[in-house]
Amino acid sequence: MSFLAYAVAAWLFLIGLYGVVTSRHLVHMVLCLGVVQASTYVLLLSIGYRTGAKAPIFADIPTSSRVVDPVVQALTLTDVVVEATVTALLLALVLQAQKRFGTVDPDEIGSLKG
């Protein structure tokens, strides 16, 4: 049962990759990449989790209580915001690609040469 979190992280990674590989639309590909990113967040947070512990905010609980790991939360929270901007950048590239090649199908873009 405790392996479920890691299993979900691995599952999300693999299914996201499957989506990228078999995609027919560049925007679909970018959103599947977002699923792969989500798998890393799940993995990070499940590593830091402690059973029966509370959130690492000591505003109203005594300083000696048991809390989950704050370091992985710091990593994940900056990551969430930054990856959204990178996704926006990828979408701008998709717009450029459509302008240059006239299509958003990745298979066709690969075969337009010369």
Binding site: L4, A38, Y49, V68, Q73, T76, V94
Partner: protein, 85 residues
């Protein structure tokens, strides 16, 4: 690991699969919003409120909005590209 966490984990896995298997980008944008909110609930249940806050705003609002705007522009470009020929 209690029942609530297990249930939300399974829901997140299903939602991830749904995002990938929805091929129409317009619908996929909305499904991504739902996936983001489910992720935020997961983070909350794993005792990470800061991360949940970020994910609610970013995954539930900003990302679908950007995708929808990009899709609208894509369609406009496609139509004007077809009209030019």
């Amino acid at each position: 690991m209690n029942v609530l966490q297990a249930v939300v984990l399974v829901l997140v896995a299903l939602a991830g699969a749904t995002v990938v298997l929805t091929r129409v980008p317009l619908r996929q944008a909305v499904v991504t919003g739902v996936f983001g909110l489910l992720l935020a609930i997961l983070f909350f249940v794993f005792q990470a409120p800061d991360v949940a806050l970020s994910e609610i705003i970013v995954g539930g609002f900003v990302l679908p909005a950007i995708v929808l705007l990009a899709l609208a522009k894509l369609r406009e470009q496609a139509q004007s590209g077809a009209a030019d020929e």
